[in-house]
């Protein structure tokens, strides 16, 4: 009996002691039982006592253990069985008594204790060899008791308790992992209520993780949740990179991101165009939607050349000619430059605004801009158009890089012409 006590959890001494006191006398006969014969559990042919049926249930579930198959002498078997049953009944009554005495308040706890003890006993049963009859019988006794209390489902409820304790997926109560969690459970008695919940709601024999309140434990929904969280993280990171990121709506945020990427790609194009001449180049740019190229002549010299004669008349070339004229005029006199522009129906505006507008118009395919802004700095020439329908989606942006593009002067003529 001391062995049993030491094997089981010391925190559960009370029921054990009860058991022991009464079981001591009856266990004597089992102590010296030869190892081979004690695990011949009663077959259904035995006395059809109420307790026996429960015993069978439990013991049948525990007979999956790899007991040794030796069949001892039948006589000791019968004795064992009889004694076994008797002992079990005694134990059961003792445990039940304790249960009743435990009171309503302590019921869940004591129930859990009982179950855990039983489970532990089962665990030890599993771990031990066939040479420990006493513990086996005690375990079986604990099993019976549990069955008395909770009915058929309590066995599975016990499994659920361990499922709760570990909060994992399926967990075999008969595994050593279960044993560890059992000890954890006993030590952390704060999980009592949850165990109580599990007890009161017996489920199918399959292991099931209890859901926390407000959350599903279905693996698909967990994956969904993870995915959503990850996407939210990435969106937040993008928000920091992209300017004007104060949008809370995911859709508008994505719009902003898309526009910004387009804008950056456009800038790379623009800048690579400007590199052609080196200094004070008048460089056209490929339109956004169409991909048709606007051709111009690059002037590498210090002053913008008048290349009117070089180009064949075409819409694009006219634009570049305009650009050249404007650049030339700008060097001489801002006023005349503006006049010239106005004749043509063009206007100047800062590049930053123009690029913003260009992205906006490319999105909405609608450009009705007529804006004049004769300040120094980088400017854009924008041609106003009448109703611009969706038939002309491409927008060509011409940029003329200036020497002081970043600084805000007009040397060399910094302007870009955009034609919707």
């Amino acid at each position: 009996m001391q062995a049993m006590n030491s094997l089981l959890n010391p925190t559960q001494q009370i029921p054990l002691q009860d058991l022991q006191i009464n079981g001591n006398s009856h266990h004597h006969q089992q102590i010296h039982v030869p190892s081979s014969s004690q695990f011949q559990y009663p077959t259904p042919t035995s006395t059809t006592h109420h307790d026996d049926s429960f015993l069978e249930q439990i013991l049948s579930s525990t007979t999956s253990f790899p007991w040794s198959d030796e069949t001892g002498p039948p006589n000791p078997e019968d004795n064992n069985n009889a004694g076994f049953n008797y002992d079990e009944m005694v134990l059961a009554s003792k445990l039940r008594q304790h249960q009743i005495n435990g009171g309503a308040a302590g019921n869940p706890f004591s129930t859990m204790k009982m179950m855990l003890m039983m489970q532990q006993q089962q665990q030890q049963q599993q771990m031990m060899l066939a040479g420990r009859p006493t513990v086996a019988s005690a375990a079986a006794g604990g099993g019976i008791t549990t069955n008395h209390q909770g009915g058929e489902g309590s066995m599975q409820a016990l499994y659920n308790v361990f499922g709760d304790g570990s909060l994992h997926g399926t967990m075999q109560a008969k595994s050593f992992v279960g044993a560890n969690s059992a000890t954890e459970m006993t030590q952390s008695q704060g999980s009592g209520p949850t165990a109580g919940e599990a007890v009161t709601a017996p489920e199918k024999p399959k292991q099931r993780v209890r859901a926390r309140r407000g959350q599903a434990t279905d693996p698909h929904s967990i994956a969904e949740r993870l995915r959503r969280v990850r996407i939210a993280e990435r969106m937040k990171a993008l928000q920091e990179l992209v300017p004007n990121a104060n949008k809370t709506d995911k859709a508008s945020m994505l719009d902003e991101i898309i526009d910004y990427v387009k804008f950056l790609q456009l800038q790379v194009k623009v800048l690579s165009m400007s590199r052609l001449g080196g200094a004070a180049a008048v460089a056209p740019l490929v339109s956004e939607g169409g991909g048709d190229c606007i051709q111009t002549s690059a002037n590498g010299g210090p002053h913008p050349r008048n290349s009117n004669g070089d180009q064949t008349p075409s819409a694009n070339d006219r634009l570049t000619m305009t650009e050249h004229q404007v650049a030339k005029l700008m060097e001489e006199d801002m006023g005349s430059a503006m006049q010239y522009l106005q004749e043509k129906g063009l206007c100047l505006m800062p590049i930053s605004l123009a690029t913003a507008i260009s992205t906006a118009t490319s999105r909405s395919r609608n450009s009705m801009i007529n804006h004049e802004n004769p300040t120094n700095g980088s400017h854009l020439l924008i041609q106003s158009s009448g109703g611009d329908g969706p038939s002309s989606p491409s927008m060509s942006v011409l940029t003329v890089q200036s020497a002081t593009m970043g600084n805000g002067g007009l040397e060399g003529g910094a302007a870009s012409v955009s034609k919707p």
Partner: protein, 163 residues
């Protein structure tokens, strides 16, 4: 803050300037023909993007896609049969997987799949990524693009100042 001696920016600058000087050497600046100008523009743009992709190496999906695109293009110019499409296919998963991800987007995000598709077109190699990776790649791509723009702008300013 990266180590300045080996940051993305410095790697890109070195490569790009090298490419630029090479282009300038091959193609004289003062050629008036518009087609030549356009070609030069194209070459510079490609050089810029390529330099950036090489600086990132293969650490990112978009850079890998860009690099494979450049390599296939080069091989196509040299007369081989390999088309851009086939080389891109090697980098992308089989169509079944792509379809799955697209359906996933539709069910999960509803109206946002239009924008995700658009984003896929913008970011190189974006067709074969799920939304999560796509956003990640977009962030890195934006960072690299801004670096590119910064550097190129500085070069332009430098050229103009030194005229």
């Amino acid at each position: 803050v990266k180590n300045p001696s080996s940051s993305l920016k410095s790697r890109f600058i070195t490569r790009f300037l090298g490419a630029l000087t090479k282009t300038n050497a091959e193609d004289p600046i003062s050629s008036p023909s518009p087609t030549r100008i356009f070609q030069r523009y194209r070459r510079i743009k490609v050089a810029s993007n390529k330099s950036m992709a090489y600086s990132v190496r293969s650490r990112r999906i978009w850079s890998r896609a860009l690099l494979s695109r450049f390599r296939s293009r080069r091989s196509a110019f040299s007369g081989r049969r390999s088309s851009v499409k086939t080389t891109n296919c090697t980098t992308s998963p089989p169509p079944a997987l792509i379809k799955v991800t697209i359906d996933e987007n539709k069910t999960a995000k509803g109206g946002l799949d239009m924008q995700t598709d658009e984003l896929r077109e913008l970011v190189p190699g974006g067709e074969a990524m799920d939304v999560c990776n796509l956003l990640d790649e977009t962030a890195h791509y934006i960072k690299c693009l801004t670096t590119q723009v910064q550097v190129m702008r500085k070069i332009v300013d430098f050229y103009h100042h030194s005229k």
